[in-house]
C-alpha cells in the first residue's frame, strides 16, 4: 500500500516531468493522475485496496491533501476499498530495507573501501548497510532487522527514490 509520502513523491515527480497522464496499478492499488494541460478532467485519484493477511487495516478516510508545492496537481483523493482477503499473500518472508529519501546510494564509506555489506553477510538491527546522500547530507542506513543479506538491489552510485528497496534481508 502506498504511503502518503510516496503519493506525494509521485505527484512531485510527475509534476516536474513532461508526463501528462499517469496510471499505476499494483495489488489493488491504483493511482491515476492528470495534469490540467490535458483534456481529461483535472484530478488525481489514488485507489488503494489493502491486502492484509492477518489484521484488518485501520479504515482510512478519504483525504484531501493540500499540495502547496505542486501547483499543477490540484487535489489528491485517497479512496480505499475493502476487498475479500483471497488476494495473494506475500509468500516471501524477506525484509526490504528501503531508502528513507531521494539521493545517491553508496555501498561503501569511500570509493576505495570495501562495501558495508555483501550478499551472505549477517546483519543486526544497527548494522550500517549503506549511505544515501542528497545535498551533502549523508544518511547511514541501518538494517533495522537481524538477519542475512540475500540480495543487494542497487548499484553503487545509483540514484534511489524515496521508499525504494535497497536490500533484501532474510530475518532471523
Amino acid at each position: 500500500m502506498l504511503k502518503i509520502q510516496e503519493i506525494r513523491e509521485l505527484i512531485r515527480l510527475i509534476d516536474q516531468s513532461s508526463i501528462e497522464e499517469f496510471v499505476y496499478e499494483n495489488e489493488g492499488t491504483k493511482v491515476h493522475m492528470k495534469k490540467p494541460g490535458s483534456n481529461i478532467p483535472l484530478e488525481t485519484v489514488v485507489k488503494q485496496t489493502v491486502v492484509e493477511p492477518t489484521a484488518p487495516a485501520p479504515k482510512q478516510e478519504p483525504v484531501v491533501q493540500p499540495t502547496p508545492a505542486q501547483p499543477a496537481v490540484q487535489a489528491v483523493e485517497v479512496k480505499q476499498e475493502e476487498k475479500p482477503k483471497q488476494e495473494a499473500v506475500n509468500t516471501e518472508n524477506l525484509h526490504k530495507i528501503t531508502s528513507p529519501m531521494v539521493g545517491t546510494f553508496y555501498a561503501s564509506p569511500s570509493p576505495d573501501a570495501p562495501p558495508y555489506v555483501k550478499v551472505g553477510d549477517k546483519v543486526k538491527t544497527d548494522t550500517v548497510v549503506c549511505i544515501v546522500e542528497a545535498m551533502k547530507l549523508f544518511n547511514e542506513i541501518e538494517a533495522e532487522v537481524n538477519g542475512e543479506i540475500v540480495e543487494v538491489l542497487v548499484k553503487n552510485g545509483e540514484l534511489v527514490e524515496y521508499g525504494q528497496p535497497l536490500f533484501l534481508v532474510k530475518p532471523e
Binding site: Q5, R12, Q16, A69, T98, P100, M101, V102, G103, T104, Y106, P109, S110, P111, A113, E133, A134, M135, K136, L137, F138, N139, E140, E144, N156, G157, E158, L159, Y162
Partner: protein, 325 residues
C-alpha cells in the same frame, strides 16, 4: 566542559556589555567569596582574556582571546539554544565523530563540538579536510528537528545561508554559495559543510552539521594542490578575523533561520539561498558518480533540488553531485 561558575561569570560580563562590574556584585551573584572571584578572574587572564581592574569600579573584559573554547564562544553569545552546550577540545580526530557520539548519548539540541585541530577532518566521502591548528573553525552542531527524514537535506542549504550571513556580517566580504552548500569567496572555496543524519525510517534522532571554515590561514598553509582553488577569509579580507566572533555570529544567524524554517518551511530559506547562489543562470557541469551533465542551472526546487537544463531542453533534477562552475 567548563565549570558552571565560569559560565555564569562570563554571562555576567556579557550582560554588562563592556561596563565594570564590582567584585562585590560578582561574589553575590556567583555565591562565592571575593577571593574566589579574584581566582576566577586570574584564570580568565591565564586563558588569554584581557581584563581591566579598577578600584571601586570592579572588573571588565576588554578583549577576548582568539581562542574558541566555550568561554570565548559563550562570551556575548546571543542565542537561546544553539551553542548553549559546548564541547571543546584542543585536538580531536574529527568533530563529527565526537558529535555523533554525544548525539547518541542524548546531547541536547544546539550542542556544539569545536576544536582547534582535527587530525582526521573529513569531507564528502571521507575525503580529507585540511584543518591545521588554530587557523580555522572546525565545528559540528547537533540539531534534533521534528521533520521527516526526507526533508533533512534542506538543512544543509540552511546551514550554508547561516554561514554566509555570519561571514558577511563579521568580515564584510561577499560570500557566494555553490550548490548545495560550498561557500566561495571571490571564486575560491573557504567553507565546506557536511551533514550526517541519525534517523529511523520516519523519525530523525539527530542531524549533525559539520562546518569547516578557513579563517586565518596563509596561502602557504594550504597543500599545494589546493592553493589555486582554496582560500581563507583573512586572505580575502587582508586582516586576521576573530574566530569566536564569527562562530557567535553564525550561531545567531543559524538559530534565526532554523526557527523560521521550523515555523514556515523551506521557502524563506530558499529565497535567501538564491540570493547568495553563484550558479543560477550559468552553464555548469554536474558530476554524479556515474555521469556528468552539462547545462544551465535554472535554480532550485522547493525541496532544494538543483534544476539543470541540458542543451536538448531536458530539465534534470539533481539531488547529489559535484558542481563544476
Amino acid at each position: 566542559m567548563q565549570s558552571e561558575t565560569r559560565r555564569k561569570l562570563l554571562e555576567l560580563f556579557s550582560q554588562a556589555k563592556g561596563d565594570f562590574i564590582s567584585g562585590q556584585k560578582i561574589s553575590e551573584i556567583l555565591g562565592c567569596s571575593r577571593t574566589a572571584v579574584w581566582k576566577h578572574i586570574e584564570d580568565l587572564r591565564k586563558e588569554g582574556f584581557e581584563l581591566e581592574a579598577v578600584r571601586r569600579l570592579g572588573y571588565r573584559i576588554t578583549k577576548a582571546p582568539d581562542k574558541i573554547t566555550a568561554n570565548e564562544i559563550q562570551f556575548g553569545l546571543q542565542t537561546e539554544v544553539l551553542g548553549r552546550h559546548i564541547y571543546y577540545e584542543e585536538e580531536v580526530t574529527s568533530t563529527q565523530k565526537i558529535a555523533h557520539k554525544l548525539a547518541y548519548e542524548g546531547a541536547p539540541e544546539g550542542t556544539l563540538v569545536v576544536a582547534e585541530l582535527q587530525t582526521t577532518g573529513r569531507g564528502r566521502l571521507d575525503r580529507t579536510w585540511f584543518s591545521p591548528k588554530g587557523t580555522g573553525i572546525w565545528m559540528s552542531l547537533i540539531l534534533r528537528p521534528a521533520i521527516p527524514p526526507q526533508k533533512a537535506p534542506q538543512l544543509t542549504l540552511l546551514a550554508a545561508v547561516a554561514v554566509a550571513q555570519g561571514i558577511q556580517e563579521v568580515t564584510g566580504l561577499f560570500p557566494d554559495i555553490k550548490w548545495p552548500n560550498d561557500i566561495l569567496i571571490n571564486g575560491k572555496k573557504a567553507v565546506g559543510i557536511l551533514t550526517e543524519l541519525q534517523a529511523e525510517s520516519e523519525r530523525i534522532h539527530s542531524v549533525i552539521i559539520g562546518i569547516g571554515i578557513n579563517v586565518n590561514q596563509e596561502i602557504e598553509q594550504f597543500p599545494e594542490e589546493i592553493q589555486r582553488i582554496a582560500t581563507s577569509l583573512s586572505l580575502e579580507k587582508g586582516e586576521k578575523i576573530n574566530r569566536a566572533e564569527l562562530i557567535k555570529a553564525i550561531l545567531l544567524k543559524f538559530e534565526t533561520l532554523y526557527r523560521q524554517y521550523l515555523q514556515h518551511g523551506f521557502l524563506p530559506i530558499k529565497l535567501l539561498w538564491e540570493g547568495y547562489s553563484v550558479s543560477i543562470g550559468k552553464e555548469i557541469i554536474a558530476h554524479t558518480p556515474n555521469d556528468s551533465i552539462k547545462g544551465k542551472a535554472l535554480g532550485i526546487t522547493d525541496e532544494g533540488v538543483l534544476m539543470l537544463e541540458a542543451a536538448d531542453g531536458v530539465i534534470h533534477y539533481i539531488h547529489s553531485a559535484d558542481i563544476e562552475l
